[in-house]
Amino acid sequence: MRVEQIAVFLENKSGRLAEITAILAENNINIRALSVADTADFGILRLIVDQVAEAEKALRANGFTVGKTTVIAVEVPDRTGGLATVLKCIEKEELNVEYMYAFVNKTGENAVLIFRFDEMDRAIESLQRDGFTILESKQIYSL
């Protein structure tokens, strides 16, 4: 039910993001989804990749500070209102969302929403109860 996400510290210097993607490419690691949260002073890059351990190793070897955490991937049909239905459920259950980001599946039918909740277990339980599909990690990595 839980998907591993890598977070990388980004100093506000140009080229850091390009360097990170180059390192992953060199190591044949595929990025499934990414999001950047930024302030004036620094950024946090969040990545869903297909080989978590290898990505961590490669990035650390190149001097990046890497953290790992678990997130939930929720599948919704890729049409208007898709996101709204998920958020309604979350609001009803009073679940606190730390952050989220989304991407569209290649096959074009579904979108995937990545969530980090304060209460992961309760979030999984509530979303499943309301009929939402929560993806397994191997499903994400092979999208």
């Binding site: 100093e11 302030t39 002073d41 620094f42 001097g63 500070t65 953290g67 980090r116």
Partner: protein, 431 residues
């Protein structure tokens, strides 16, 4: 005009007085302070065998670490019930130094500050605005008690709130200003912003200290505020302000030698330098009761000015302090040791921290940025947590150092690794 006649003493009489007072101090510390008793015993020193001031070189040194090791009251030469005042430097256990004063010490201190105020031109008809922080630092209270002893009208305004300071300066008709030199310039800037002409103020004198400043800064301060700006020097380990101060010649600080025996030594060899050469100022107190110190290494660099002063005082002068022999910085008048920053970061990170300390001066105000290399223990995927971490580091550093700093996270291994201590600090101020 002098405050007391010792300022004009004949040198031979002064040396006689110093000798008597040194013997009394040696007896006091050998009897009451275990640190010195042990040191004297190890070196087989017997105070009674001292016959001349040149015997001083046989005595052991005292360092800041010695004071830290004896935190809090280990160096006191009197029981605590006789201590009427306690002052301290910033920092937590292991870094702070604590000093104490008997009633007589406070009286002596007040008189010595009254001396330097008088030398600077201030008298009992003056209105003194003391814009040094009142608290555990010796600056505020030191100047306050001296100004009161002098009989001047004291405004204990403490530091900060510049607009109010200027308002009070106008309304209360301040004639003498006491603060750090950079704060004086900041006040001048704010006056300009507010359209206030300093010539319309009643200001005549300024006594500045607690941080190093250049002749160029003095010119700027005296021109912009229309005052005679003098330098004064002191350190809490030895007493506080009042150890030395400039007369209106503004050419060197007269040392209160009847209370402090000074030496200028080579910081490496610890031998006296040639007359007039630069070296480390080492001070022995001659009249302190609660907290006497023997050959205290100040780490401040200066030189004696051998020529007699036109003002007529026979007390020798030292030149304005020109630097440090250690890595201590003075930021907004507060002493900061890079190791203090290291201790806080180590505690937060749980590992050996890597950081740089960048000090700049913007609009006459010191600005400090601590660049901290990110490590996993302080990195979070959640922005709120990451920003809270930066805030936590900021607050804890401010609490430890006694001065506010900016904190910026930088990537691992992006800062130069240092070999010696000094390369962690990037001081861009042109002092």
């Amino acid at each position: 005009m002098v405050w007391d006649k010792n300022e004009n003493m004949a040198r031979a009489d002064l040396e006689q007085l110093q000798m008597e007072r040194l013997q009394s101090t040696l007896y006091r510390v050998a009897t009451h302070v275990p640190f010195y008793r042990n040191k004297f015993s190890d070196l087989k020193i017997d105070g009674e065998s001292f016959t001349s001031l040149s015997d001083l070189s046989k005595l052991p040194f005292t360092t800041k670490q010695d004071l830290r090791n004896n935190y809090p009251y280990g160096m006191f030469a009197v029981p605590l019930r006789d201590v009427v005042r306690i002052h301290s430097s910033s920092g937590t256990t292991g870094m702070a130094t604590v000093v104490g004063y008997t009633k007589k010490d406070i009286d002596t201190w007040s008189n010595l500050v009254a001396r330097i105020l008088t030398a600077a031109g201030v008298g009992k008809e003056d209105v003194i605005q003391i814009a040094f922080g009142y608290g555990l630092f010796t600056g505020g209270f030191g100047l306050h008690y001296g100004a009161e002893k002098l009989g001047a009208s004291v405004i204990p305004i403490s530091a900060g709130n510049t607009r109010r300071q200027i308002q009070i300066m106008q309304d209360f008709k301040t004639t003498a200003l006491v603060c750090t030199p950079s704060y004086a310039l900041k006040m001048a800037d704010v006056m300009m912003d507010l359209g206030i002409n300093p010539n319309g103020l009643s200001l005549k004198y300024g006594l500045f200290g607690a941080e190093p400043w250049s002749e160029k800064m003095r010119e700027e301060i005296s021109e912009r505020l229309g005052i005679i700006a003098t330098d004064n020097y002191g350190l809490s380990e030895v007493m506080g302000p009042g150890v030395a101060g400039e007369c209106q010649e503004c050419n060197g600080l007269h040392v209160n030698e009847d209370h402090f025996l000074v030496e200028i030594l080579d910081p490496e060899t610890l031998e006296p330098v040639m007359a007039g050469e630069i070296g480390e100022l080492v001070i022995t107190t001659l009249t302190k009761e609660a907290f006497p110190v023997i050959r205290y290494r100040t780490r401040d660099l200066t030189r004696m000015i051998p020529a007699p002063c036109p003002c007529g005082r026979t007390l020798h002068r030292i030149q304005r302090i020109m630097g440090r022999t250690d890595d201590m910085l003075i930021i907004k008048g507060v002493n900061v040791f890079p190791t203090q920053i290291e201790a806080v970061l180590f505690d937060i990170e749980g590992t050996q921290p890597h950081y740089n300390l960048v000090v700049e001066r913007e609009h006459n105000e010191d600005k400090v940025t601590v660049l901290v290399e990110v490590v996993e223990s302080i990195f979070f995927d959640q922005m709120k947590k990451q920003r809270t971490m930066v805030d936590t580091i900021k607050k804890r550093l401010a609490a430890e150092l006694g001065v506010g700093v900016n904190v910026k996270l930088v990537e691992e291994r992006s800062l130069e690794r240092y070999n010696g201590k000094s390369s962690r600090v990037i001081d861009k101020r042109q002092l």
